[in-house]
């Protein structure tokens, strides 16, 4: 679905911190939303979490730097980082160009998926939340 100019794919789950999670059978891919990428604009550096590191739902994993601001990325789920998008080290602009595609951040093997999933928003819920923010 779409809210204003922002894409909000129906098959993803979202956090109020503007991360998305694509939940697969064994792993979950994480990135930041179209809205977050657009707000930061001109993303110039992406810090990625160490591969194999353990992350906790809602805690800081890494950060994004744009020309005029910085933002922390929090993990939508607890688990172990099994893959990171190395391309972002050399091409951080991918986050602006394709936040739900080539601009993904990392892949996590969730340790507590079933109970934690309920803390995330679906596309409709995130759109509602965003609508409130945009006023």
């Amino acid at each position: 679905m779409k809210l204003d100019k922002y894409d909000i794919p129906d098959d993803l789950l979202y956090t109020k911190e503007h991360e998305w999670a694509r939940v697969g059978a064994n792993s979950t891919v994480v990135g930041i939303t179209d809205y977050a990428a657009d707000q930061l604009h001109d993303i110039v550096f992406v810090e990625l979490p160490p591969q194999g590191s353990e992350q906790k739902q809602g805690s800081r994993v890494c950060s994004v730097e744009s020309v005029k601001s910085s933002a922390d990325v929090t993990s939508p789920l607890s688990g172990r980082v099994i893959r990171v998008n190395e391309t972002l080290s050399t091409h951080p602009e991918k986050v602006n160009q394709s936040p739900y595609g080539d601009g993904w951040f990392f892949e996590i093997s969730p340790s507590n998926l079933e109970s934690e999933k309920g803390n995330l928003l679906d596309a409709k819920g995130y759109a509602e939340y965003l609508k409130g923010l945009l006023g």
């Binding site: 604009h41 550096f45 730097e65 020309v67 910085s70």
Partner: protein, 374 residues
């Protein structure tokens, strides 16, 4: 309620807007990086009508200005734009500004948006009893900056390509008085055009100027640009921003800007303090380049030899250098080579840099590959 400039209708639907000192202004049009590169590579145009503009006239105007400013406007010839400071009695900077000398009793002044009311009050306080009248013409005029190596070609359209850096010419534009100055805040060649008699009620001729300039800009491969690019460009050029790098608590001597202070003038506000500071100050403003993939921001602590010696006054990503850069106010004694900036808990390696940060053979108004004007 925020204000907008007379040119707001020209970009309200196309620019990403931001609030700045009570004004809703363009943050960017296409993107900060693209706009910075456009200004370094060809040309960019900015609405800077939010900046305060004063007209100062009267028999005593020159002697009055020489009392409130650190620079000597009496020595300047008519047609000169003079950059300088208005300081308080402690030598700190109330504002940095450009004074345009039309004649001995006739000046224009362009000041920072955020200091406009304060400056106006200060000027009025010191002009009491003198034959000087100061009027704020901000709401009845516009100011547009055209900046970049190709700006000179556009200046040619106004028939004033001959004006040299920090000089200005007065021309009529569509029946309006205008002042075209070869000045700017990007480090590049360029000009700023002030057009009088443009109000929010009657902005038409101002909007026409914007559209005309825009067409010429596009022909040169240029872009409209916002405050995001403007701030990044001025920092790349090592130009201080009042409120960050110079303040009422930071003097021109600490900021390394003593060349804009004329101690040969016998009397101006702040002189006794400046005279002492000329011998040396406890703090100094330096340029630092960040060697890691983080960007320094204002207030980040700065370390030298592992010890905190100061803080970042302004920081940004530099699209020209492709790295984080900043200005920092540090202890004058901190001269070891190991510089670090603490950015959100991480100590990043940094290096002292000259300012401008860029290679002046390649960028800025002194560049070697200048654009030829017919």
């Amino acid at each position: 309620m925020t204000q907008v400039t007379q040119l707001f209708p020209a970009y309200k639907n196309v620019a990403r807007l931001t609030e700045f000192s009570g004004y809703t202004m363009p943050l960017f049009f296409t993107g900060i990086i693209e706009e910075v590169l456009a200004v370094r590579g060809s040309v960019g145009m900015f609405d800077v009508s939010h900046m305060g503009r004063f007209r100062i006239v009267g028999k005593d105007a020159e002697s009055f200005l020489n009392h409130v400013l650190t620079v000597d406007v009496a020595r300047a010839e008519p047609g000169r734009a003079v950059y300088g400071f208005m300081c308080n009695e402690s030598g700190g900077v109330i504002d940095d500004l450009i004074t345009y000398k039309v004649g001995e009793g006739d000046f224009y002044m362009v000041v920072n948006c955020s200091n406009r009311a304060k400056d106006f009050q200060w000027l009025n306080r010191w002009s009491e009893g003198k034959d000087v009248s100061i009027s704020d013409i901000t709401d009845e005029s516009i100011l547009v900056a055209v900046q970049g190596p190709a700006a000179g070609k556009i200046l040619y359209d106004f028939g004033v390509s001959e004006i040299k850096r920090f000089r200005f010419a007065r021309r009529e534009y569509s029946g309006h008085g205008s002042l075209i100055a070869r000045t700017g805040y990007t480090g590049e060649d360029g000009f700023e055009i002030l057009v009088e008699g443009i109000t929010k009620q009657e902005p038409r001729d101002g909007l026409t100027l914007w559209e005309t300039l825009k067409k010429r800009l596009y022909q040169e491969g240029g872009l409209e640009a916002g405050l995001g690019a403007r701030d990044t460009l001025r920092l790349e050029a090592g130009l201080a921003l009042h409120g960050n790098d110079i303040t009422e608590e930071i003097s021109p001597f600490e900021a390394g800007l003593s060349r804009f202070v004329d101690l040969s003038k016998q009397d101006y506000i702040g002189r006794p303090v400046h005279e002492k500071q000329a011998a040396g100050t406890a703090r100094m403003l330096v340029g630092l380049v960040c060697r890691e993939r983080l960007i320094p921001r204002a207030h980040n602590p700065v370390l030298n030899g592992g010890r905190v010696v100061g803080y970042v006054t302004s920081g940004t990503y530099s699209p020209t250098l492709k790295t984080g850069i900043c200005m920092a106010l540090v202890e004058a004694g901190a001269v070891g080579d190991t510089w670090e900036i603490e950015i959100r808990g991480t100590r990043c390696r940094a290096e002292l840099s000259k300012m401008p940060f860029y290679d002046q053979d390649l960028y800025g108004f002194r560049r070697k590959n200048r654009v030829e004007v017919r």
